[in-house]
């Protein structure tokens, strides 16, 4: 026990041996992975060895063993709205006070005081997510969505004004209770569809996008407490192709898998949900 520790010489010996083994292993891995494999795989991709090595390192796109497909495409997008940090900052920084004045002047005639619409022709806006309102107003403005009343209104507004209106309606924390008659309460099958979806039709739960804080697409509107007539009309419009500003067909696909009866009952379910 009192023996001196093996000295520097032995440490050197162990360290040297270990370093040699590690260096050998690293050399083999690097040479094989970055040089030998890509050079041998290059002929199958129809590329020169140098390009193959660049692909194996990650400096060029593509597999060292396979040809890259050509990209020749131009197609029109369905919505011009982009969720970029710039857009999100405009939304986050928007002042609801000028938004309130604008809403009073432009929106409240149809959408009601504080965004509670008196008519079944127009949706409630109170408590709606700001991103959802911004997205729809932008789409009305760009023509991605058309409505005889909304399109001209939206065309007159600047990006900042859209954001202010969105901020104003978004500032109501919840939709006011007692919006009118409640339907759809206790409809177990529809509640199941809304909360659990239907794997047989690859239908995700409505709630996985349309509730607050569920991590879904930023533009997904909050549905609870919305007018059933409005909800039903939108589902029909998505299914029938009259409305198509949903990015990547999310709602066109979902609504095409719903029966007319389910659309009615879902709309009633969501009106009744507060």
């Amino acid at each position: 026990m009192t023996e001196q520790p093996t000295g520097g010489r032995e440490r050197d010996r162990w360290g040297f041996a270990a370093a040699m083994v590690v260096a050998g292993v690293l050399l083999f891995s690097v040479v094989m992975g970055l040089i030998v494999l890509p050079v041998l795989q290059a002929p199958n991709a129809g590329i020169d060895p140098w390009t193959a090595i660049c692909r194996a390192v990650g400096l060029k796109a593509g597999s060292p063993a396979q040809p890259q497909p050509p990209v020749s495409a131009t197609a029109a997008p369905v919505s011009q709205v982009r969720w970029t940090p710039a857009t999100l900052k405009i939304l986050a920084a928007a002042d609801p006070r000028p938004g309130a004045a604008l809403a009073q002047a432009v929106c409240s005639a149809c959408h009601g005081e504080a965004g509670l619409s008196p008519s079944t022709d127009f949706p409630h806006l109170s408590g709606q997510s700001g991103a959802a309102i911004y997205k729809q107003l932008s789409d009305f403005r760009s023509g991605a969505r058309f409505n005889a009343q909304m399109t001209p209104v939206a065309k007159k507004l600047t990006d900042e004004q859209l954001a202010q209106i969105a901020a104003y309606y978004g500032s109501f924390s919840r939709r006011a209770a007692a919006l009118g008659p409640r339907y759809g309460i206790g409809d177990a099958a529809i509640s199941r569809l809304a909360n659990r979806g239907d794997p047989a039709r690859a239908l995700p739960p409505c709630e996985s996008c349309h509730a607050r804080g569920v991590g879904g697409p930023p533009e997904a509107p909050v549905l609870s407490g919305q007018q059933r007539e409005y909800l039903y009309r939108q589902l029909r419009a998505f299914a029938g192709g009259q409305r198509g500003n949903d990015v990547y067909r999310r709602m066109r696909d979902v609504s095409s898998h719903l029966s007319d009866d389910e659309m009615h009952r879902l709309a009633e379910f969501y009106q009744g949900l507060s």
């Binding site: 032995e10 440490r11 690293l26 891995s29 690097v30 494999l37 692909r55 194996a56 990650g58 739960p205």
Partner: protein, 540 residues
């Protein structure tokens, strides 16, 4: 006899209470996935539960057990009290506060992002801050372990650090390296986003940083099991450790090769090139070497024990082993499950072959066998083994301990064998409900129910484990006793300095990490690395 018994027990009880709750969640999750109707089976509840199960098992059970066991090892192997019990308690309370925050975040439904986070989905800040505190608490443990070893070496110049302590410190050092990746991800990417300072996350970078942590963390969990194989099982079997040097070498190899390999979790990812995936694959292949060395060294130690007990012939020693002792039984069962889990791992790590199984139930089976099988069954055995010296009371009868261990191993096999098969059939992961009406999926139903039955056995075993440890009224107090680790056939008088410290190995780890992760991380800082907008999953 360890001095800070309350400290050690506090750690172990946090670990074990969380463990039983997490086991119950696991059973419910399998019930939801099965064709049988389960209560509360909405996706929101399911992913909340998966998050709770993963966080509890992977972060709480392990970290607290390893800290508690580390303190035990330091005090019993070095035969001195901890350098600072006050710091150790500070680490405990820090980590416990972290657990409380994280659990509250998960219970509130504002953190259903699973234990691997998946940015750009984000949870409430409390979730991440809580986890950071758990890690900070564990760093205090690391410091205490390092100081304890340094003091021992200063007080005993030239003496070998006892193997159990050498291994514990190897794990502590590896843990420091390990946590660098996830800490960078949370501190520089996720927290700025969840506090609203940034709106986007570089997902490629976050996945790469998490992969830095993701493999080595498994070895962090595994170390106590290997410490038990080398320093507890041979003595429990009535023999000695075949080779002390091989033990040291194996632990050093784990330190070296469990780190530069995490990218094998990203084989199917588009943000890394074939070349660096190959490099990390060939380094991953080397991780199997210390495990294969351990298989041999522990077999030889057991053979020695069997022969000392009169076992003859090529395999007669196996029968002669005292299988009635929980530590010996657990060691045998752990190696049995390691065969399946490690075999699955060899397939997962095989480069393009990973495509056959990636993100299928096969992988779930693999890591449940390694973690739930090999690792946790040894946690059980360690607890049974050290309980008398911690509490002055023996656990409930040896027969119930054996029953509990058998139930665990059988439950684990019944649960994971169907998962392996279903994974090859394409059953994918992280799913709350399958469409069993689909003729391509329908035949999976019965097998899912079989694995659910395995899960029920596991839950029964988990409850039995805690019952075995609970204090009982009519219990005989044992005389105060210390704990003795296994001796080696040749107890080392001196060991090479390289195997008595970690300087050389840290330098080599740094070199390996530089080659394996240098460019793969650097590439996200070249040009415009794409940023994804965050998707807050913070509840309504």
């Amino acid at each position: 006899m360890p001095q800070n018994r309350r400290l050690i027990l506090a750690h172990l009880w946090v670990a074990f209470s969380v463990f039983v709750l997490a086991a119950a969640l696991g059973v419910w999750q399998m019930w939801v996935r099965s064709p049988l109707a389960a209560p509360q089976d909405t996706p929101a509840r399911y992913y909340q539960s998966v998050t709770g199960h993963g966080v509890s098992m992977a972060y709480v059970l392990t970290t607290f057990f390893i800290m508690g066991f580390g303190y035990f090892t330091a005090e019993t192997a070095l035969k001195t009290p901890l350098p600072s019990a006050r710091w150790a308690w500070a680490g405990f309370w820090t980590a416990l506060a972290g657990v409380a925050m994280t659990v509250a975040a998960i219970l509130s439904g504002q953190a259903s992002v699973l234990y691997t986070f998946y940015p750009p989905m984000t949870a409430t800040p409390w979730f991440y801050v809580g986890l950071v505190l758990v890690v900070v608490g564990s760093w205090i443990w690391v410091a205490v372990m390092l100081v304890a070893m340094a003091r021992f070496k200063r007080a005993n110049p030239g003496a070998p650090v006892p193997l159990a302590m050498y291994a514990t410190v190897a794990n502590a050092i590896m843990w420091l390296w390990t946590t660098a990746g996830v800490s960078a991800e949370i501190l520089f990417q996720i927290l700025p986003a969840v506090f609203g300072w940034t709106q986007t996350i570089d997902v490629g970078l976050s996945r790469t940083l998490f992969s830095w942590t993701l493999h080595a963390i498994v070895y962090f969990w595994l170390f106590p099991a290997y410490i038990a194989f080398y320093t507890m099982a041979p003595r429990a079997a009535g023999g000695r450790l075949y080779s002390d040097t091989m033990g040291r070498l194996s632990f050093v190899l784990f330190l070296l090769y469990s780190l530069p390999v995490g990218m094998h979790h990203l084989f199917m990812d588009p943000e890394h090139s074939t070349g660096f995936k190959f490099i990390q694959m060939s380094l991953t292949a080397l991780v199997s070497i210390p495990t294969l060395l351990t298989v041999f060294t522990i077999s030889a130690s057991m053979e020695l024990a069997g022969r000392l007990r009169g076992g003859k012939g090529l395999f007669g020693w196996i029968k002669a082993l005292p299988w009635e002792r929980p530590m010996v039984l657990a060691t045998g069962l752990a190696f049995f499950m390691l065969w399946f889990g490690g075999g699955g791992g060899l397939i997962n790590m095989s480069y393009g072959m990973n495509a056959m199984v990636h993100n299928t139930a096969w992988v779930t089976a693999h890591f449940h066998l390694i973690f739930g099988g090999t690792v946790v069954i040894m946690y059980f055995a360690i607890a049974y083994e050290i309980w008398p010296s911690l509490t002055g009371r023996a656990p409930l009868s040896v027969a119930t301990q054996r029953l509990q261990l058998w139930l665990w191993a059988i439950g684990m096999m019944v649960m994971t064998l169907p998962w392996h098969y279903l994974g090859l059939q394409g059953q994918w992961r992280r799913v709350a409900s399958f469409n069993y009406a689909d003729p391509r999926i329908g035949p999976w139903g019965p097998l899912v129910i079989v694995s659910l039955a395995g899960g029920v056995l596991l839950l029964v075993s988990a409850v039995m484990f805690v019952m075995n440890l609970l204090p009982r009224r009519a219990q005989v107090r044992l005389p105060e006793q210390g704990y003795s680790f296994a001796l080696a056939v040749h107890p080392p008088q001196r060991v090479p300095a390289a195997l008595n410290g970690f300087t050389v190995w840290n330098v080599l780890v740094a070199i390996l990490m530089l080659v394996a992760y240098g460019f793969p991380i650097l590439q996200f800082f070249i040009g415009n690395s794409p940023q994804a907008v965050i998707h807050p999953l913070t509840g309504g």
